[in-house]
Amino acid sequence: MTLEEILFYIFAAGGIISALLVVTRRNPIISAIYLIVNFFCLAGIYLTLHAQFIAVIQILVYAGAIMVLFVFVIMLLNLGNESLLRDGFTWKKVAAGGLGFGVLMELIYIFMMQIGTPSIEMERATNVGTVEAIGRVLFTRFLFPFEVTSLLLTAAIVGAIVLAKKKLD
């Protein structure tokens, strides 16, 4: 077993366990902290795929910016009655779990069908994940989508301010 495989399996186990904890914890702040753990595990997996830029962005933007927003809102809402939100055992949940398990098995079956599995080429993969390579593609082929992204973010900022404002006048 190479170091790469060992790291992948450690990060994969960490990612799955933290994902389960995000979904099952009752307190939203604990869920948010486990989601940050999950983001760090994913960043590690991105590094095993030689995607350095995405790994750094994952931690900076997701674990940094977006999760701060979440934690801030959880603290702002000041939820006192968490016990009222306790969701117990219902048959709906059993049905949802069964359906989810079925879909998961189907997906795994499709992935395991051997259809020309490509093998990772170390030099090419290392060249793809750098800031230079991604920047080159982003500012040539994807220049227009990149510019439209700024419009999306402006709309999101305006929408968030309008929605969260105290009184619409």
Partner: protein, 100 residues
């Protein structure tokens, strides 16, 4: 050497966990966190394919998905705050004014 299937299966497991969270939980914040989980599992698929095929397009798409996630989190959390201000709850079962 980790095969491509391992990355895809890990991504599928995390996506299904996130989908289960969206379907079964009633706390609006945890539903949002589950949506972030699902977006991230899709990002993992894109990065895995990008690395295995040696094409940077997948990683550029991840960049756009992250932008979208930021916009979605900002607007969604603003909606949660507005709802909480009106109804003093974030229990999704009690927010049913548009339910037919």
């Amino acid at each position: 050497m980790v095969p491509l299937q391992a990355y895809l299966i890990l991504s599928a497991i995390m996506f299904i966990i996130g989908a289960m969270g969206v379907v079964t939980r009633r706390n609006a914040i945890i539903v949002f966190l589950s949506i972030e989980l699902m977006l991230n599992s899709v990002n993992l698929t894109l990065v895995a394919f990008s690395a295995f095929f040696g094409d940077a397009t997948g990683q550029v798409l991840v960049f756009f998905v992250m932008t979208l996630a930021a916009a979605e989190a900002a607007v969604g959390l603003a909606i949660v705050i507005a709802l909480f201000r009106r109804k003093q709850t974030i229990n999704l079962d009690e927010i049913n004014i548009m339910k037919w």
